[in-house]
Symmetry: C2
């Protein structure tokens, strides 16, 4: 029954230790439930600045250039602050190990470079530095192009794990632009009618600004769920709902121990899973196929650490001023309309993409930092000890 | 039990008359099943050129400018040839009625116009001419920009139903470009946790060229299924599978007579339907929000014919040569890899987006035209009679 721990080594430590009944049923609310649980259990709260400098210390300890360590710290703090605990502090040791093993460049002699460009597009080689450094470089380039040409479309090869896709698109949105980002990832998803994991969870993010700092921030995998949700069901000894996973024969399974691959968004063929498969392929076209990075089944597997990742990613910035005046008014109008819809029986509110994260950030602000489960804090202390750096302070 | 006929007036005549057992379970194969059924029942076959000139005659009979009638004919023939019978000849009377009623412009004094542009983007006003005329204008503009700037992104307002999204993206692909297209549509989909149809089936299409005329052609609604599939279950007296539809209280229903709204791709919140909802919203951002057309709940309803549609649409062309060399090699490599995957138990082949349509076209080529159900032919003859034009010849 513990098979999944073998499958995904540095994965969702926080989630696994939370034992949150009901989170699987929550969907939208899954970001908020752990936080409430943690705070009600009196867990430790870490100020964002404190977490940031700790991440920088850890990364510098393995030789990472300061500016690169800071970019990663920005990303990881943002992930946890937004409630995406699987992609924040939880993944720090993965980045540390990758740099330490020489699989990701320290960045001391490397920066991303532009291989080819037009006024509105660019092909970038990440030169194997940390994913957030590549992504930030690409999004900033896309923004520059969008200011000149109305749109900037940048695809990158030679990159590494870039964390939450939303970090890049919010960066665009904060400059009044629409931002989009995509990455390919290790093969975990099984195409419709097949039985072998072939494409990644290939996320899509779009951030679009409304009025008064309101926004829509979509950040979603093109699989039904992430592997972490299956781990959690396994740990709880509960069956998986329909539409999540396949066994090794390619049949849908509800039994976590039989897990052999993720179903695309939409689930089985009957419930239109081939659309999620098509979307994952679309993301791969924007990332690996356009950029010439590793792609599809050739992306190294999730547990493979003896070869460079060479991930493909894509970043788009769009200037709404190049289109009809009043973009943010219309955006806010649609957002507000959706939020104010009458709810289905048994529901209390209709959300728009980005609302759960917004609430999580508000709760963190109330606490003066990000709440963590004791196991997560323990692990961070152990990592600090191993690297010989000062741990973070817990409130 | 016949409620759905009240909901969607000019809808899927072909599908409704086919009585195809098993098609709902087919998913990918749903394009091929009706064709095999029709040919095995010895139905009429209509040559593509014959259908084309018939559509032009019908549209000219209600005053449509010849070039506009031809664009619509190209689109409708392509839809049926590709197996998307719901969007081909089946919809001709809708276009006829819209022009006749003055809801869509005849195009005699109107063409789409560019409202604003940069080297890589444009905002177009469709000036209420036929959707395919607007779409063709926009995609050709996007292609021109992509040749100069690597990418062209065009959003349009003042448009009408544009038929299959794939028609526009294939147009780009035939010039060696990647094509994307999107449209907003009448509210049919219910956002997660709500109960009222608020967004459309908002489709996404991407066409990307491989080698030797091979390609990936994704063309999908962001709802789990189209309304036609629910109609069909109703007609067969069979329950709907999970993930398709909601009743008026916002609860999932399996009973066609209880249908009150479509679920987004992914189904309920538990199976990640909020992702499909997010994707539909993304499409709306590209279409209505960028262009300033009607959007979301303000798009006229499917049965409303007394106001202009003012739909929003979006067309993107990307020059793969602006990125890494060898795009089509990598595309073909991914396509071939997926097609050659071992199949799940009980399956005979793994397909890629566009394969079902490819097979349908091959079968049509073998027949020397497009096969239609007798009811569809009868309806077309009645329409010809009503408009006083020559009907098409049936082989």
């Amino acid at each position: 029954m513990r098979l999944t721990l073998k499958l995904i080594t540095p994965y969702i430590r926080t989630l696994l230790t939370l034992q949150r009944p009901g989170v699987i049923q929550d969907g939208f609310a899954s970001i908020l439930t752990p936080l409430r649980k943690m705070t009600s259990q009196g867990q430790g709260v870490v100020a964002r600045e404190e977490l940031h400098s700790y991440v920088v210390r850890c990364m510098e300890a393995v030789g990472t250039k300061r500016g690169h360590a800071e970019a990663l710290a920005d990303l990881l703090v943002s992930a946890d602050y937004r409630g995406h605990y699987s992609h924040g502090l939880n993944r720090l040791d993965m980045y540390v190990n990758e740099v330490k093993a020489g699989m990701t460049s320290t960045g001391q002699d490397n920066e991303p470079t532009v291989v080819k460009e037009t006024i509105a597009t660019a092909l970038v080689d990440g030169n194997n530095v940390l994913g957030p450094v590549v992504g930030k470089f690409c999004m900033d380039l896309a923004l520059k192009k969008a200011k000149e040409a109305g749109i900037g479309w940048v695809s990158a090869r030679g990159s590494n794990h870039f964390g939450i896709a939303g970090w890049y698109t919010i960066r665009a949105m904060e400059q009044g632009m629409l931002g989009m980002s995509f990455t390919n990832t290790s093969p975990l998803m099984v195409p419709t009618r097949a039985k072998e994991p072939t494409l990644g969870t290939n996320p899509i993010s779009l951030a679009a600004p409304g009025n008064n700092n309101d926004a829509m921030v979509l950040d979603m995998a093109t699989t039904s769920v992430a592997l972490g949700k299956i781990e959690l069901q396994d740990r709880k000894g509960e069956p998986m709902p329909s539409g999540w996973a396949l066994d090794k024969s390619g049949k849908e399974t509800h039994e976590p121990s039989q897990y052999a691959g993720l179903l695309p968004l939409g689930g089985t063929e009957q419930s239109s899973g081939y659309k999620g498969y098509g979307l994952a392929m679309m993301v791969e076209v924007f990332c690996g196929i356009l950029s010439g990075s590793a792609f599809g089944p050739n992306v190294r597997s999730w547990k493979e650490f003896n070869k460079k990742a060479n991930l493909g990613q894509c970043f788009i910035a769009i200037d709404p001023n190049a289109f009809a005046d009043g973009f943010s008014d219309r955006m806010s109008s649609l957002i507000d309309h959706c939020r104010n819809l009458d709810t289905a029986e048994g529901e209390t509110e209709v959300l728009i993409p980005g609302d759960p994260e917004k609430k999580h950030m508000q709760e963190c602000d109330g606490l003066g930092g990000i709440p963590y489960h004791p196991n997560q804090i323990k692990f961070a202390n152990e990592l600090a000890d191993r690297l010989g750096v000062k741990p973070f302070e817990v409130k």
